[in-house]
């Protein structure tokens, strides 16, 4: 096949032109809660489906299918696995920025969540909005598959209820290589998250990456030692080869024992580098904590701070010691 020259300079090798910067040979579907209908074919922006769940059902596994959620799309999760991404290799990409990014809300059921149950799934540029949740939630995105990627998303935490087990929750499984890149969590109310247990909970698997993220929340609630990022495993050996790099993780919580990155029993090995970690618990040192020994991790250029208004120091310096 030769290059085709079209007017005004477009030329093509035959791949679908999607207006973005990645390549796929799979099918493309569109979703828009405002203009869509699941009776449409979903194949162009003027005939989108209305729900992500239906769009995923139309995808074929392992073909690199892509679901575009259009600006202003909003979808409520009201039950467990209300959205179950069960087709391997599917990408779900939000179009838009700011408040017009596609938004997933979580409302009346404690187990309301998105389930990732097939491998190689990517979710990009979404807002997970639990700010108006009326019940305690047990995890917004629950990952039960390997090679899941969460890219450039934002999570809004509950303002009055608990978020047990976090915005992203991976159970104690053998699922590997989860990537969380560019997650933003900035608490949306001054009294937010009174009993948030953790923002990212990694219960198993190996080779995970948590990178380039900014998490600033007001409180960690009653189980502070769980950590904002919680590497936890019930297994003998926890996550191995974990990379936590270029993350900023802070909380204004000031209760004793506040922990930013928690390595609980069974936690494995990895690198924690180029991070800024802070809480407001002056006198406490538990920035990277838990019962697991730090010796299994390489710590590079991690700065910690425990007083609002002051500067942080290199982790392990004489100012702030390791656990």
């Amino acid at each position: 096949m030769t290059l085709t020259d079209y007017p005004n300079g477009v030329s093509s090798f035959g791949l679908p032109v999607i207006g973005g910067q990645f390549i796929t040979t799979g099918s493309i579907f569109f979703v828009d809660s405002n203009t869509g209908s699941n009776s449409y074919n979903g194949k162009d922006k003027d005939h989108p489906f209305s729900t992500l769940s239906y769009a995923v059902s139309k995808c074929t596994a392992n073909k690199g299918d892509v679901v575009y959620a259009m600006p202003g799309h909003i979808e409520s999760m009201s039950s467990s696995e209300a959205l179950n991404v069960n087709k391997a290799g599917v990408k779900i990409i939000g179009i838009g920025h700011g408040y017009l990014r596609p938004r997933i809300t979580f409302d009346t059921t404690a187990s309301a969540n998105i389930a990732i149950s097939s491998c190689d799934v990517t979710i990009e540029n979404f807002v997970f909005d639990a700010s108006t949740a009326a019940v305690n939630l047990t995890g917004l995105v629950r990952v039960n598959a390997s090679d899941f990627t969460l890219l450039n998303c934002e999570a809004m935490l509950p303002t009055s209820e608990e978020l047990v087990y976090g915005a992203v929750y991976m159970a104690a499984t053998s699922d590997d290589r989860m990537t969380i890149d560019g997650l933003k969590v900035a608490a949306s109310a001054s009294s937010a998250c009174d009993a948030t247990y953790s923002v990212i909970h990694v219960g198993g698997g190996d080779g995970h990456k948590i990178i380039n993220s900014f998490i600033s929340i007001s409180n960690l609630g009653s189980t502070l030692a769980a950590g904002v990022i919680n590497l936890s495993s019930a297994a003998t050996t926890g996550p191995q080869g974990v990379l936590i790099d270029n993350d900023i993780v802070v909380t204004t919580a000031s209760s004793a024992g506040t922990c930013l990155i928690n390595l609980t029993s069974g936690s494995g090995s990895g690198i924690i580098s180029n991070c800024y970690l802070a809480h407001a618990d002056d006198g406490e040192d538990t920035h990277i904590g838990g019962t697991e020994q730090l010796s299994e991790f390489g710590i590079f250029q991690v700065y910690v701070n425990n007083v609002l208004g002051e500067r942080g120091f290199l982790f392990g310096s004489t100012y702030v010691s390791a656990t």
Binding site: M1, T2, L3, T4, Y6, V10, S12, F13, G14, L15, P16, V17, I18, G19, G20, Q21, I28, F30, N34, N41, K43, D44, K45, D46, H47, Y68, M70, P71, G72, I93, I95, G96, H97, G98, Y99, L100, K184, A186, A187, S188, S190, F214, S216, I217, S218, I248, V250, T251, T252, Y276, A278, Y303, N305, L308, G309, E310, R311, G312
Partner: protein, 312 residues
């Protein structure tokens, strides 16, 4: 439109405009050019552009992520407080060109002249703003949530001694989630006129990000958020990797961040404050965590990490 359109030799399209860049939108695309355009055109291709950004924005639909490409060498003057209003939610105004060829907006006639952004989730990129009068109150004023300003530059006028009062400001409420990335206000030599008050003034910032900016001017504050922050109204902001240089001798710090902006992180900023030895270049009170901010307050000296525990 139904499904992929199969064009000859393999090109297929589902209807997303191919913009030639990295922009992904399902919205409409318009072009603006003051040199070749007319507002009676349909604005749908570079050969039939509109003449003004306001007209391009007026054709956009709220919430659809419509795009307005502003062509190289486009020039407009903004002569009143309503001279330029980005009022459509989600509209993306992207300038084409580099250097002086970027679309240019000169604010003149009245100090109240401004670019007002009232549509939430609006996005402005690669635009050049200029002072056409001294002491403009607010050059770009953001009064909507989730607005992004990327690679915007402000240039003052040393020939006529015009210096902006405040280049970018947010309103006292409702401007949460504002992202200012790569803003430049660089006056290597004092342009004269009235000293700049603030490079960036954030009122009640929440979920905001100010990063990769370069502010070098005779200003009272480079990045400021104190006055106008109601107790508990702000918080969880990121002020990272900004380069700040003061050419004048005012004693005010280059970054001042309110204690009411709780949970903010101020990090990796470089501050050169050469004429105010002994002054605090960075004051963040008790609202922020600080990491690796470096300062110099004497020319020729080596920067050190900022030790300041400031109070406002």
């Amino acid at each position: 439109m139904a499904g992929l359109t199969a064009l000859p030799n393999g090109l297929s399209s589902m209807g997303n405009p191919v913009t030639g860049g990295t922009y992904l939108t399902t919205g409409s695309v318009y072009f603006v050019d003051s040199n070749t355009g007319k507002d009676s055109n349909d604005g749908k291709d570079p050969d039939h552009p509109f003449a003004t950004v306001d007209h391009g924005v007026a054709h956009c639909t709220s919430g659809k992520m419509d795009m307005v490409f502003v062509m190289p060498n486009h020039a407009e003057t903004i002569s009143s407080s309503t001279g330029m209003r980005i009022s459509v939610s989600g509209v993306k105004v992207v300038g084409l060109g580099s250097g002086e060829q970027r679309p240019t907006f000169t604010l003149d006639t009245a100090v109240a002249s401004k670019c007002e952004i009232t549509g939430h989730s609006a996005y402005l990129e690669n635009l050049l703003f200029k002072s056409g009068i001294d002491a403009i109150t607010y050059g770009i004023h953001v009064s909507a949530t989730d607005v992004t300003l990327k690679n915007i530059e402000w240039r003052d006028d040393a020939t006529n001694n015009y210096q902006v009062g405040t280049a970018i400001a947010t309103s006292s409420s409702g401007a949460g989630g504002c992202i200012i990335d790569g803003f430049v206000l660089n006056n290597p030599v004092d342009p004269g006129g009235t000293r700049t008050v603030y490079g960036i003034h954030m009122r009640s910032p929440r979920r905001c990000e100010i990063k990769n900016c370069y502010i070098n001017t005779d200003t009272s504050h480079g990045i400021y958020s104190s006055t106008g922050v109601a107790a508990g109204a702000g918080g969880y902001n990121l002020i990272r990797k900004n380069f700040l240089q003061k050419t004048g001798s005012t004693s005010a710090p280059m970054i001042e961040w309110s204690s009411d902006a709780k949970g903010s992180v101020v990090c990796d900023n470089i501050i050169f404050n050469p004429t105010t030895d002994g002054e605090d270049p960075l004051i963040c009170d008790t609202g922020s965590f600080l990491f690796r901010n470096f300062i110099v307050n004497q020319p020729g000296e080596v920067g050190i990490e900022c030790e300041v525990v400031g109070t406002t």
